[in-house]
């Protein structure tokens, strides 16, 4: 007994001594699952020709992702990272994090010392970085020479995100779109507009999926946004936000908020999307509004019932979390070059087409005519989506929902 005790102690001590020693070694074993992918598009890389070859650039960068859901985390690991490695010879150290955490970290950086080289964010995260004066590299139009593919992105998306002037600091990788999803087993005749949805709320009492206003997922904000926006516009016709103070004086707005509160008492509130998907699977939730790509992909994976169908609401389907790529300004210059190379590659037609063909996510660049027709049999064309798409341009409103919504809107 005593002997075995000593054995265990010494083993533990050795382990404790050895483990720290192998602590900060820089190359963790990355598991990259390489699979042969049946993509019809061949990989061509558009690498801008630079005049003089500068000193050797770093071959490994850290990408922090605060946007992707589980489906796109997998996509990054199995598709994007291997092909960046293959085509550009750049190793991506891919990390999933949260917007607020990244912001806190970046605040503590000294100039030129940053260690996150590329950020993949929600519009909200990007707008928050801008608002907290955390410097980012201005990509559009300053760096079009390094990122020629950026010219294909719609300009209004490069100018503003969440109604905040982002000064061209973000490159648009994808546009995410919400659709109405419902289980055809329970819902035979889905609503065609928010107003109708509201009128018929009693039919689906307790079975409408809705997100907590302060959820980590952007859906917590986009659902109330689209709902209220259907009753009272939250932006001017030119897309600029109406100040919240002004809105709050309008009786229509107060009425819309009251309707939203009432509507939410008919909903099954979920903490995060994953809870809502559990409810869908259990048959507790029948109808909800959620990101198209995620829903379609879940069905294909067998994590959501095959009886789910998609629809649209004519008075506004919210934009999902559009994907923005940004480069922090406080990092060594050579890393910026590499990051820009990666951005340009991710915006190349091949990569963008892969995004829509494999993941049913709308492209960040305007290349609709190049997308194979087979895609449009599964999802509506962008030009059909665009008129009903509601971008969340009133940041004051979304912030209000995030900070006060849990208290004010949630049913007691």
């Amino acid at each position: 007994m005593r002997k075995s005790l000593f054995l265990v102690v010494s083993l533990l001590l050795v382990a404790a001594a050895v483990l720290p020693a192998c602590g900060p070694t820089p190359t963790p074993e990355k598991i990259i699952v390489r699979e042969t992918v049946p993509v019809t598009v061949k990989e061509t890389v558009v690498v801008p020709v630079t005049a003089t070859p500068p000193p050797p650039l770093p071959t490994e960068i850290t990408v922090v992702d605060t946007n992707s859901g589980a489906n796109f985390q997998l996509f990054w690991q199995t598709r994007i990272i291997p092909s960046v490695q293959e085509q550009l010879g750049i190793k991506i150290n891919y990390v999933v994090s949260k917007g607020t955490e990244v912001a806190e970290r970046m605040k503590a950086w000294e100039p030129g010392k940053g260690d996150i080289h590329l950020l993949f964010m929600k519009p909200d995260d990007l707008a928050n970085l801008i608002k907290s004066n955390i410097p980012l590299v201005k990509l559009h139009p300053d760096r079009l020479d390094m990122i020629p593919n950026l010219a294909k992105c719609p300009e209004e998306y490069l100018k503003t995100a969440q109604g905040v002037d982002i000064q061209g600091t973000g490159a648009l990788y994808w546009r995410s779109q919400y659709t109405l999803i419902y289980n055809t087993e329970y819902v035979k005749n889905p609503p065609k507009s928010w107003k109708e949805f509201y009128e018929r709320r009693a039919e689906w009492k307790g079975h409408i999926g809705w997100m907590r206003p302060d959820s980590k997922s952007g859906s917590g904000r986009s659902l109330p946004y689209a709902f209220v926006n259907a009753f009272v516009p939250l932006t001017n016709p030119d897309g600029s936000p109406i100040p919240l103070a002004e809105l709050e004086k309008k009786p229509e707005y107060q009425d819309a908020i009251a309707k939203l509160k009432d509507f939410m008492t008919y909903c099954k509130i979920a903490n995060e999307p994953t809870n809502m998907f559990e409810d869908f699977n259990a048959g507790d939730t029948w109808i909800a509004c959620y990101a198209m790509d995620y829903s379609l992909w879940s069905i294909s994976q067998g994590t959501m019932p095959p009886t789910i169908a998609a629809g649209s609401l004519s008075d506004g389907m919210p934009a999902g979390s559009d994907g923005y790529l940004s480069i922090p300004a406080n990092i060594p210059d050579e890393y910026k070059q590499v990051a820009m190379k990666v951005i340009n590659y991710l915006l190349s037609d091949d990569q963008q087409i892969r995004l829509i063909t494999e993941m049913w996510q709308y492209t960040g660049t305007n290349i609709e005519d190049k997308v194979p027709d087979v895609v449009w049999r599964k999802i509506p064309k962008w030009k059909e989506i665009e008129p009903v798409r509601v971008r969340l341009n009133n940041k004051e409103f979304t912030d209000w929902v995030k900070e006060k919504g849990a208290e004010v809107l949630l049913p007691k």
Binding site: A17, P24, V95, S97, K216, T303
Partner: protein, 278 residues
């Protein structure tokens, strides 16, 4: 008379049956959640109200391994726990010795002071730790997270070790000094081997504490130091629960090993830290 005896025996059996029912219910209450995770991690197309998933698959495990980079998460967790255990033990051996074997004025007060971190909710000083670490650039380093863990681990270790030192048999030590061993020799050749079991339990407990620590890690971690509890937290919030379940199943294995060790080697009541000096 015979019927009475039979009746009594039946009553005794019924009592035993009741006892076993209670224990079994308790056992199921604790363990069924893990069975649910296990099923979830292998099931596919499990919709509606079914007891078992209709199809079984390994896909979620593949997915979990691909997305979460398990070797790195596990390595982070173990490295951090390793550093935290080492530092805590190095702190606890002298301090525990002093508190256990020396006459110190105000010992009770010192002991209570050292144990204070266990009485304050961790989130309260985690806020301070985070702010200090941002300034010192200790955020997102293995050492930094481990040092934060020491704040919680060290009091445990000191508590366990001081009671071990205190419980040493005075006569053995006296015998050693009678035989001509000086103080240092006595310490290394007699005292230390005698308290080895105590040190072992302290190591196991600090290891478990650090391995499962969530609050302090959440405030000090970063992309390079994601540990197991933080990763599970992220996965429960954002991923498919099928994948989260697969991840949980993989990451639970070291805990089961620790559980086995505790049962074999030390008294579990020390795990909860006795109640001295508080």
């Amino acid at each position: 008379m015979r019927t009475l005896r039979q009746y009594l025996r039946a009553l005794l059996n019924a009592k035993k049956l009741l006892a076993y029912t209670f224990l079994l219910c308790f056992f199921l209450w604790v363990t069924t959640p893990f069975l649910m995770i296990l099923l979830k991690s292998f099931g596919r197309n499990w919709f509606g109200k079914l007891w078992l998933p209709p199809e079984f698959t390994l896909d979620w495990y593949k997915w979990a391994i691909t997305v979460t980079n398990i070797p790195e998460v596990l390595r982070n967790t173990l490295v951090i726990a390793g550093i935290a255990v080492t530092i805590s033990t190095l702190i606890a051996i002298p301090t525990g010795w002093a508190l256990g074997r020396r006459q110190i004025p105000g010992k009770e007060v010192i002991m209570s002071t050292i144990l204070l971190p266990r009485m304050i909710p961790p989130i309260a000083y985690a806020l301070g730790v985070a702010q200090i670490f941002y300034r010192l650039h200790l955020i997102d380093t293995h050492l930094g997270v481990a040092i934060a863990h020491v704040a919680i681990c060290a009091p445990y270790a000191i508590l366990v070790l001081s009671s071990t030192f205190e419980g040493l048999d005075e006569r053995v030590l006296e015998a050693a000094s009678v035989c001509g061993a000086n103080n240092l020799r006595t310490f290394f050749h007699i005292t230390l081997p005698l308290v080895m079991p105590g040190i072992l339990s302290s190591i196991i407990f600090t290891f478990t504490t650090s391995y499962n620590e969530f609050t302090l890690t959440l405030m000090t971690y970063g992309p390079k130091t994601i540990t197991l509890p933080v990763r599970t937290y992220l996965a429960v919030g954002e991923g498919y629960w099928e994948v989260t379940s697969a991840l949980s199943m993989i990451l639970i294995i070291p805990s089961l090993f620790v559980l086995f060790m505790i049962q074999r080697q030390v008294q579990p009541e020390k795990l909860v830290g006795g109640f001295k000096g508080v």
